[in-house]
Amino acid sequence: MDGIVEFFRTAPIPPDVFAPSLGLIILLPLLGAFVCGVFGKWLGRANVHLVACSAIAGAFVLSVLAFWATSDAAGGRVVSMANPFGLERDVIRYAIAHDYGTWFAAGDFRVNFGLLVDHLSGILLLIITGVGFLIHLYSTSYMEHDDGYWRFFAYLNLFVAAMLTLVMADNLVLLFVGWEGVGMASYLLIGFWYTDSAKAWAGRKAFVTNRIGDFAFLIATFLLILTVGAFNRQADARDFNAASSSRARYAQGIEQKGPVTFKGLEKMALALPEGTGGAVSLATPIEAGPLSGYTFGGVMTAIMLLFLLGAAGKSAQLPLYVWLPDAMAGPTPVSALIHAATMVTAGVYLFCRMSSLLVLSPTAMATIAIVGALTSLLAALIAFAQDDIKKVLAYSTVSQLGIMFMGVGMGVFWAAEMHLMTHAFFKACLFLGAGSVMHGNADETDIKKLGGLWKEMPWTHGTFLVATLAITGIFPIMSGFFSKDAIFHGVHHNHLHGLEWVSTFVYVMGLLITASTAFYMSRVYLLTFTGPRSKEAKVPHAHESAWHMTLPLVVLAFLSFVTFAYALPLMPRTGGGMQPVFENFLSPVLRPAEAVARAAETVKLDTSTPAITDYLFAWLVALSGGAAAAFAYLKYFPSRAGQPVPAFARAVRRTAQNKFYVDELYEFILIRPVKFVAFILFRVVDALVIDTVLVRGTAYVTEKVGLGLRRLQTGDAQAYAAIMALAILGGAVYALLQVLS
């Protein structure tokens, strides 16, 4: 046993040796994208598959090494490095980083190309490259008959490279590069079948919706840069005492690494709370600069709310969630990779990364939690009535992301991150399972026209069942149950200072969501796999997919089963008692946030371990949802087949099926007025002023003047000479008059 522990504690490549190679993790998929995109047409299918898959496999191996290096504890000393923003003794543990030097600098603003891998980004690295590899493998079979396979793999690799940039960035600007990169890659992938205009439109919708969020993200970044500058000028040495740092070192760190580095922001968050006796606290007004007059706390709240809007765009939260269900127009592996496992969780990752700043603002936290809860419930209710298997899963993803936002908003960062991980496994498994179902049934996506697949597609059925049980929590020894329950437990016990009611509200919503999830996921499973085969099915018998497709399913199902172990309270807590493995695992990253929350007294973080009764209650709620679905779809509806449906039920169903008319509402409130203004601008400004008056008017005047002047050109040399002579005469007369007067 000690030997095994020793093995896992010693990285095969020492951290300081490995750190300069971190860039390779991004470069490999980027290179793969380049090769596939530029030479893919000439390489042929097998070579493109080989290049794309091996690029991701290489990145996965490097990620494993990087992750291993962050946990290196050779000789009992864990890997640690100097914090450029703190004292020498103030080191960062369980993290490796490498700074590739200045990326750009303007005045005293500076951004470095720095990469950082700690336990938070390490987990995401493994998910992105690991799940990414499985999905690449799956795609080799799924996209077998597509002519654009090389383009598809180039985009997939590009996406992975951008996502890796996002999670490995050690500053906000570099993170934004990845943030935009995944947005672009997802646009390309959603609109992959661009000859179908509906699918191209879906890509455009995703892109435009994301732009709104990205704009908010940028403004937040600018505000943050201004705040850091103001803080650096205004704070005195006593402020920094609380952050176990010195003012000079902080200024030096900003000079070296720029103001948007996460470690620097963490130091600022540690120094900002009230009551430390320094010149600056949350209630202090900013003295100079564009933000003068506003308090630090107020600006921080504004920044966090803007980041929320940015994250809402990427992570499909209210009010910007509408793009995600439409994005199902893309190929199924894309839905699994982007819209379940990686990109859409970027918002959750961002808030975990900025957790120490987030806990400074209870208002922003409450908003995040409420937005998450409302999104989650709304999406779950819409999912009740959707018949397209991928649409149900898409709304389920929106709903699960809402749960993660609830966790982030209530300060249970570790549980949100854990749900992100387990969700990546079981939702990728569900999406790939849905793809496999479509593959075996001539692209049929309507669950009402499927049924009875459990005999014909045993592997797909088995893995889908495992993933369904994991997401619903009907069968408790599954990862999804524990990670979701960890969030709800934390939500229930954490309290936002001044906004205590949010906790109760969000918790009640959470219970509703749990039951709803169990219901609609059971419905999908029951309608697709059990019962007799539908008479409207396109093919009489489904066929099981190739091993390229079933192997990833099995691996993902296995992962979505075993990761529950992370939620078990097996690790000793420093204050006595036990804590969940994952909480312990992320504590090096989240410790500053806890310290800030304690000092600022904005959030009361409860770290109690859930009791068995908590689990039992959550289980009963989930079970009730599942049981309701089972009763409805196995017993009630089959017995009522052929009988008319009551009118009110039809109305409710139609409303839910039409997504509560949110898209239509947007159409009415935003799109129509904007289109109208655009129409007016087009007619008046463009067509009338620019086209008619300016462009054609200029041509008209020139032509008429030319026509008039043409008469002067006779070609008669004597006429020209006469004009010349007259002009000379005129000049002479003028000169004479001047001389005489």
Partner: protein, 100 residues
Amino acid sequence: MVPITYYLLLAAALFCMGMFGVLVRTNALVVFMCVELMLNAVNLTFLAFARMHGDGMGHVSAFFVIAVAAAEAAIGLAIVIAVFRSRGSVNVDDIRTMKH
């Protein structure tokens, strides 16, 4: 000693005759002769002023004008002959190709 006014009046009269000739005559050869007349009127003023000031610059200018006039006459005659060969006429009213 004749006052310079007479020279200048004579030159002006010659210049005006030449100019009217250029403007109204239709025969290209006559037009050329009128141009020569104008040039010589100018030469006359140059020489008159040179004589008045006792300065050699006027003589130099006059020689320069004569040289240029000779060159111009040679080229001009060549053009006139070429035009006559191609069109059978030296009437300047008929030559309006500058319009195009």
